[in-house]
């Protein structure tokens, strides 16, 4: 890796010339891009940068999820008694039943339609599968399948987003407003941030599909599909966390 031998140089030149010829004809080509771009770690710059960016995103969602958990606790504390000490009563079991009933009535949980959200979560997770298949198609040079799987991923992602819009609308009608309570603010901010990330992913997928129809998303750019895939899987994993923490854990 560290040294570029003469042979590699020749290969390289051949590759470049072939590409250049393709370009002059402006025809799609199945030419496979064999050369390895020299990097110290052997990982392409783009992929390394994407991993770094996702590392940074972990802290972003970490802070948001912590904020949600804190806000929820504070909301319940405030709600139950207007003073922080009654919450100890919950853990001590004093007045437990009464307190739990109060929480259950006023918290966000009665609003949740767990089967509905489970279904939309399942749809989002399935989109990760189709994303993997899209990447596999492009590395095999099967551009028709690439378009099919990219479109499937986009459709599944869009369905998830439609579910979130529906859910937000329902919650809003049932009284959980953004500015009405601490819980509302925290809930909509956390899930909304995730939704914004999914929307960003949908735009990227749309761009890939467009490029693919223009014959500009081919084997030599398989890494582009892989990078969008990395982002997409990350957003999915974050949803698994959010779904568990916000919806499933009482």
């Amino acid at each position: 890796m560290a040294e570029t031998t003469a042979t590699e140089d020749l290969d390289h030149e051949g590759a470049a010339a072939a590409e250049f010829a393709d370009q002059l004809n402006d025809t799609p080509s199945d030419f496979v891009h064999h050369e390895e771009h020299y990097t110290s770690l052997g990982l392409s710059n783009m992929k390394l940068a994407m991993w770094l960016f996702l590392g940074s995103e972990v802290l972003l969602f970490g802070a948001l999820i912590s904020t949600y958990l804190l806000s929820k606790t504070r909301f319940i504390t405030e709600l139950v008694a207007g003073n922080p000490y009654v919450i100890e009563g919950i853990s001590n079991g004093e007045n437990g039943a009464l307190v739990n009933e109060m929480i259950a009535e006023a918290s966000v949980e009665p609003l949740f339609d767990i089967p509905f959200t489970s279904l939309s979560s399942f749809i989002l997770l399935m989109s990760s599968l189709s994303m993997v298949l899209a990447h596999k198609s492009v590395t095999e040079g099967n551009y028709k399948n690439l378009r099919i799987w990219l479109s499937t991923t986009m459709l599944l992602g869009a369905t998830f987003m439609a579910g979130q819009v529906y859910e937000f609308t329902t919650f809003y009608r049932e009284g959980l407003t953004y500015d009405g309570s601490l819980l509302g603010t925290a809930f909509y901010t956390l899930t909304g941030f995730h939704g914004a990330h999914v929307t960003g992913g949908l735009i990227m997928l749309g761009s890939l599909i467009y490029l693919s129809f223009k014959n500009k998303m081919q084997m030599d750019r398989a890494e582009t599909v892989e990078l969008v895939g990395l982002y997409w899987h990350f957003v999915d994993i974050v949803w698994v966390l959010i779904f568990t923490i916000v919806y499933l854990i009482p």
């Binding site: 390394l48 770094l52 953004y178 601490l182 990227m204 582009t224």
Partner: protein
């Protein structure tokens, strides 16, 4: 968001030779050989970007220094009415914010941008266009933040703007919004810069440049960029929560709804303490480069220097609550964070001792760059000692919010970071501009800074221990603060003049150099050690003629000096003889681009929209999307500028990514 920006680079083939899209699909084609202002506006050259970072940072140093002098004037004598309480609050807040976010951080970025690719032997950073974008978006955020002075007043809650004081209830003006949105925008630049520079160091090292052969400055900057990468998103979250609270009636810090305003302090300091280290570590790196050169010795304990830097990077995450000892976090937390705070002094102490050991027995050359470095070691140690005293939580309870704290952080940030940066400016100035700064003025610059600095901030220790609170607009004559405040004010004006004298020095030195017929300073004016001195000065646009192959730590030094048969170190060549001649023929460089600037301009538009009217966000978002797609569809390089196909190895190292 970042991924969309990066698509072009994905689309670009790594060879930089040919790509699938032949015609530029964006609105603009790539600018060709621009000159003058347009050259600077569209450049993607890491050296020019570094110089722009440095210039912007020096401008903001002046801009943030004027408020500081106003504060000192107000405090020179008791019961003065020069500034109203409201003005005083805005001025100290903006002083702190400007100095931290728009002076010290970008000054670190300036050195990082200019030097990292040179020190690791690369042609440019991994993503040259993103590099330009990082600078423009930082500048856009910085300028937007400061327009608050003309559009309703500056922020007034201290540089940390604690909740709930930063909420709309207590702070209905737009100052906090400008602070919030301006720093969010500048933060985007820090984040993209961090991704870019880390990728550069990890992936674009010259052959043979292994981890333990990297210069200390490169190491310290790498740690700094990792701190930025993980700290910036936490600040971003805190500021977005505040934005939602203020603009969209959220309740995150609304005490009426039972929220916990301490959340702000935790989020802010989880960002804020790594922030402290990411401000000082680049200066540590600079000093670690300067001291060995002018002590004529290799750095003492290289691996210890590296690992103590990494240790600081890790431990910096575990001490944030020592800013919050009086916020009622409980005795257990206080103890834990106090102990962690004492521990983090250990790696810092390792560094100080290693610098001393490097100086020890060296043939010291006490020029300006070296003096500033020694100034850092001395004054930072003083600041570090008062810092450790904060780890004694019971004492800290007394010192919190007094001038003792003000003295402490000015000793580490001014006496430490800024002295280090000045050392770096004197040291690398000939590399960047081709002539040395005047030594005589330089020594005046140094000694007047030392005197002014210690006169200003030394007395604040005493004032603080006497109980003078920070952020108070005035004090009474009966409180016994008169003498030292007057001394500090006198010192501050000496310091102000001294700090600016580097600009005078640059002017005088430039004129002398021009009169002398622009003599060549040579590639290696200091007989230095790292790779950036193995190329001509000022640095050729293409950096290295051929990618250097590295076999040692301080590789360039070993090309100049070797042991003879008797084990005596002898000079075998001069720097000029070993240096690369600066022939860039056949080197293909990334083409300039308009898109980084255009993309950066969309953010302040959205920012003003968030503050004044959401309608203004619409053109901002349209510009943003246009710029993202224009950027993505722009070919990474201009094919017509191709220098021929004979030299693919070169091209690879440029990193056509873009």
């Amino acid at each position: 968001m970042a991924i969309i920006e990066q698509e072009p680079s994905i689309a670009a083939l790594p060879s930089g030779a040919a790509r699938t899209a032949a015609k530029p699909l964006g609105a603009f084609s790539r600018p060709r050989n621009p000159v003058g202002l347009k050259n600077w506006l569209t450049t993607v050259d890491h050296k020019k970007i570094g110089i722009m970072y440095g210039t912007a940072s020096l401008f903001f140093l002046l801009w943030g220094g004027i408020p500081a002098l106003l504060l000192r004037l107000q405090l020179a004598r008791p019961n003065q009415g020069l500034l109203s309480g409201a003005a005083y609050n805005q001025i100290f807040t903006m002083h702190g914010t400007v100095m931290i976010f728009l002076v010290v951080m970008p000054m670190g970025a300036a050195f990082a941008n200019y030097l990292l690719p040179l020190q690791v032997g690369a042609r440019d950073v991994a993503f040259p266009r993103i590099n330009a974008f990082s600078f423009w978006v930082f500048l856009a955020g910085g300028i937007m933040l400061n327009t608050s002075w003309f559009l309703g007043g500056g922020a007034n809650g201290g540089w940390f703007n604690y909740a709930p004081n930063n909420g709309i209830t207590y702070n209905p003006g737009v100052g906090i919004d400008f602070w919030n949105v301006g720093l969010l925008i500048a933060g985007i630049g820090s984040l993209t810069g961090a991704v870019n520079l880390i990728t550069t160091v990890l992936n674009m090292r010259a052959p043979g440049m292994s981890w333990m052969r990297m210069p200390i400055f490169t190491w310290m900057t790498l740690v700094t960029q990792f701190l930025l990468l993980f700290a910036i998103p936490v600040l971003t979250v805190a500021q977005l929560l505040l934005l939602f609270d203020r603009r969209f009636d959220g309740n995150f810090f609304n005490v009426d709804q039972g929220s916990d305003p301490l959340l702000w302090q935790h989020l802010f300091w989880i960002f804020g303490h790594p922030e402290v280290y990411l401000m000082i570590l680049p200066a540590f790196g600079i000093v670690s480069e300067v001291i060995p050169v002018f002590a004529r010795k290799p750095i003492f304990g290289y691996p210890f220097m590296v690992f103590s830097g990494i240790a600081i990077g890790f431990m910096g995450w575990g001490v944030w609550a020592h800013h919050m000892f009086v916020s009622g976090i409980g005795p257990l937390s206080v103890t834990a964070f106090a102990v962690a705070t004492m521990f983090i002094a250990v790696p810092t102490g390792v560094k100080v001792l290693n610098w001393l050991a490097t100086l020890w027995g060296g043939k010291l050359i006490l020029n300006t760059a070296m003096l500033f470095s020694i100034g850092l070691v001395t004054q930072f140690t003083l600041g570090g000692l008062s810092g450790v005293s904060h780890a004694v939580a019971s004492a800290d309870t007394q010192q919190t919010d007094t001038y003792y704290i003000v003295a402490h952080f000015h000793y580490v940030l001014f006496g430490g970071a800024l002295f280090g940066f000045y050392s770096g400016l004197y040291f690398w100035f000939p590399k960047a501009f081709g002539y040395k700064l005047n030594e005589k003025i330089g020594k005046w610059n140094f000694w007047s800074m030392v005197v002014g600095f210690n006169l200003t901030f030394g007395p604040m220790h005493i004032l603080g221990l006497q109980g003078m609170p920070r952020r108070m607009q005035t004090y009474d004559a009966s409180q016994g603060f008169n003498t030292w405040n007057m001394v500090a004010t006198i010192g501050s004006f000496i310091l102000g003049v001294a700090t600016l004298s580097i600009l005078y020095n640059a002017l005088v030195s430039y004129r002398a150099w021009r009169r002398a017929g622009r003599p060549d300073v040579g590639p290696d004016p200091w007989d230095a050690r790292s790779l950036e001195w193995s190329i001509q000065s000022p640095t050729p646009e293409h950096n290295f003629d051929v990618s250097p192959t590295v076999t040692d730590l301080d590789d360039f030094w070993h090309h100049k000096y070797q042991e003879d048969d008797n084990g005596v170190l002898r000079r075998i060549a001069t720097g000029k003889e070993v240096a690369q001649p600066g022939n860039g023929e056949g080197v293909h460089l990334p083409a300039p681009s308009y898109w980084p600037l255009v993309l950066a301009l969309s953010f302040p538009l959205i920012g003003y929209g968030l503050i004044f009217s959401l309608w203004l966000c619409i053109p901002g978002v349209v510009l943003l999307i246009t710029a993202l797609y224009g950027w993505s569809l722009e070919p990474a390089d201009d094919l017509d500028d191709d220098h021929g196909h004979g030299d693919h190895h070169e091209r690879e190292l440029v990193g056509a990514n873009g």
